[in-house]
């Protein structure tokens, strides 16, 4: 018996060894081309009197999804004329061969229905090559919210296909500008991230500057000059309630929220010197963070709240520094040629965006938090104030054009650029715009 067992053992050992080993091939490269996506128009189910409204909503929602995906630079929505299958059948069961034929790798189908003044939008995301559904969701809301539904759907698709949180259901607050350069009327304005739904929050009587979103809610902080005195305001976008946080004499700059939204950090001149301070919004206690004869401005918290980046001219030129949130361990992180300013810590925590001025040109760039790996994404005559999208992939900033001696030819526009530096896009606004700030996801 033992011999037999030994024989079996030998058989297993020798024959297993003599078979071919599994071939292993390492794939370490791929392409970064936009993913071809087919966004089928949303199918309208009912035959009710509301059908016209539904039809419009159906096609408009699919258009917005398509535009969002295109603007992200990561997707390539295919021409609708090339679609073979009708939306209603595609939504039930797509004929994948038809979609493969037009080189689509993902397919989005959907259905719209209005019942009892409620809009119900259903969508499905299909993996064309795997011939299977990979996501299906439905939303019910008031019909006026159809744009937000489109943005939420885009966020879900984006997240499912890239592995990264979306940034489409967000808003941007900015300073709307009108009139000649020397007599600009500046109002606080808010819009969707794609430039739609602009609303003005102030009347334009006072000069408004540097609006910034609270990362945890729909609260905004901004600066305004009232009777030539700089004031820092808090504004609740949802309720419209506004309050003065404090009056700060001298030069006051760029209030910004802490990641938990409980403090604001800013720089203002105290005893003739500009330093960085925080203010607890509950207790209104002001705490000094830096104390240096140089000018320290533009502070921005890291997402974990443990560090602050800011700019200072303590080295003789304006450069970017980091420090602990208590003001200790100050380190200079930029050593390149030119002047650096407006540092903003990425919500992902891995990068710092900045404005750089070098040889009379302005650059928007990013670098690692230790100052290494500086990458200049865009260059222009004048541009500044980058603000991160909530997922840390896109930056919004503003750009000004050169004007004549009388201010003619002047314009200020909002632009976005992604981290690759290739996907730069103008954000259309009804008036000129400056100082944009990106909100966190509304549906979070």
């Amino acid at each position: 018996m033992k011999n037999v067992l030994f024989l079996i053992f030998l058989f297993v050992v020798f024959f297993a060894k003599s078979s071919f080993a599994l071939i292993e091939i390492d794939i370490t490269r791929g392409n970064l081309n936009p993913l071809p996506v087919a966004v089928s128009p949303l199918y309208v189910e009912s035959k009710s009197s509301e059908v016209l409204k539904e039809l419009e909503a159906g096609s408009e929602i699919s258009k917005i999804i398509e535009t969002n995906l295109l603007r992200s630079g990561l997707f390539n929505p295919l021409e609708k004329d090339s679609f073979v299958q009708k939306p209603d059948i595609a939504h039930l069961k797509p004929r994948f061969e038809d979609w493969k034929l037009i080189k689509a790798q993902a397919l989005i189908t959907g259905k719209v229905k209005i019942t009892d003044d409620k809009l119900r939008v259903e969508f499905r995301l299909w993996d064309v090559l795997a011939a299977k559904e990979i996501m299906a969701l439905a939303f019910t809301t008031v019909p006026d919210n159809w744009r937000r539904v489109a943005h939420i759907i885009t966020d879900k698709i984006y997240e499912r296909l890239t592995g990264e949180e979306g940034y489409f259901d967000t808003r941007i607050i900015y300073v709307s500008e009108k009139g000649p350069k020397n007599r600009r009327i500046k109002k606080l304005a808010i819009m969707d991230q794609d430039g739609a739904n602009t609303k003005y929050l102030t009347l334009g009587n006072e000069l408004v500057l540097t609006p910034r979103f609270n990362p945890t809610n729909q609260m905004v902080t901004y600066m305004s000059y009232f009777r030539n005195l700089p004031r820092v305001y808090l504004l609740d976008i949802e309720t419209g309630v506004q309050e003065v946080v404090g009056e700060f004499p001298g030069m006051t700059f760029a209030p910004r929220f802490s990641p938990d939204g409980k403090k604001i950090i800013m720089s203002f001149a105290k005893d003739g010197n500009s330093d960085i301070f925080t203010m607890n919004l509950e207790t209104r206690v002001v705490e000094r963070i830096t104390e240096h004869p140089a000018i320290d401005t533009s502070p921005s918290y890291s997402p974990n709240g443990k560090y602050i980046c800011f700019n200072s001219d303590r080295s003789g030129y304006q450069q970017i520094y980091t420090m602990r949130s208590d003001g200790s361990n100050v380190k200079r992180i930029t050593f390149g040629q030119g002047i650096y300013g407006t540092p903003v810590w990425s919500p992902r925590g891995d990068l710092i965006a900045f404005t750089k001025m070098y040889k009379n040109r302005f650059y928007i760039g990013v670098m690692r938090i230790d100052g290494s790996g500086e990458r200049l994404l865009t260059e222009n005559y004048y541009q500044e104030a980058p603000s991160w999208s909530p997922n840390g992939r896109v930056l919004i900033f503003y750009r000004e054009t050169k004007s004549g001696s009388q201010g003619e030819g002047f314009s200020a526009t909002l632009w976005s650029i992604d981290l690759t530096g290739y996907n730069e896009r103008l954000i259309e606004t009804p008036t000129d715009g400056s100082d944009p700030s990106w909100s966190s996801l509304l549906s979070k």
């Binding site: 060894k17 071939i23 791929g30 790798q105 296909l161 592995g163």
Partner: protein
Amino acid sequence: MNKSIFLSVTFHIIIISLTAISFPYMIKKPIDLPPIISIELIQISDFTNIPYAPKAKKILEKIKKEKERVVSEQAPPKMVKKEKPDAIPLPKDAKKKKKIKTKKQNPKKIKSEIKQVSEFEKKELFDPDQIAALIDKSKVETAETMRKSDKLTQSQDKNFIASGLTLSEEDALKAQIFGCWSIPLGLPYNENLLVRIKLKLKTDGTVIKSEILDHVRMNTPGQGFYKVLAESALRAIRLCQPLRVPTTGYDRWKDLQLNFDANEMLKG
């Protein structure tokens, strides 16, 4: 007793036959074949078509002449007189003279003239009679290189013997998949971004079955990105098929494992 002997003999026969069946792949390995060197056979005639050969010939002739000249200058009595006209040659001086003579005869001087020839021309100056020696040298060098890069060649060796895919076959397959794989850009850089997929293939390279080896990670909390990454790898395979596999040796590559690693691309 007889039974035991019979069992023992049977057992030994089985062992020997098993060894004979299974061991050839092991026997194959130690055979140390010399590296193949391709040699072009040409007709040697008065007018050779080897470039720079006429030039080299001229140089050789010049060297030959130089040699002759040096030899002719070996014992000019005047030269000796010039050096030390009145001196009685002491043994030391005699040695010196001898040294001078040997210097003139020294082939090193001739070599320095050869050095003036360009590197390319120098290559043409090799002695055809030394081919055997060169082959032997290259053999030694190859063996040394193999020994030195033993660690590196292990994988190549594995690919060649165990997997059976040549480097060019592997490269063709890689190049095909590189073009099909759209890497999701939102992946976290500091995570393990390796997806291992085992494939079963048809003879034409069509995928019969694909299996994600670390499928447990698909549903692990905090590893949501892995699902996205794995799906992108599967999409690449589907988009690429039929895969560019060799036309022969199906048994070797019918099972294939692709290791998709996005770390390198995303970290940059």
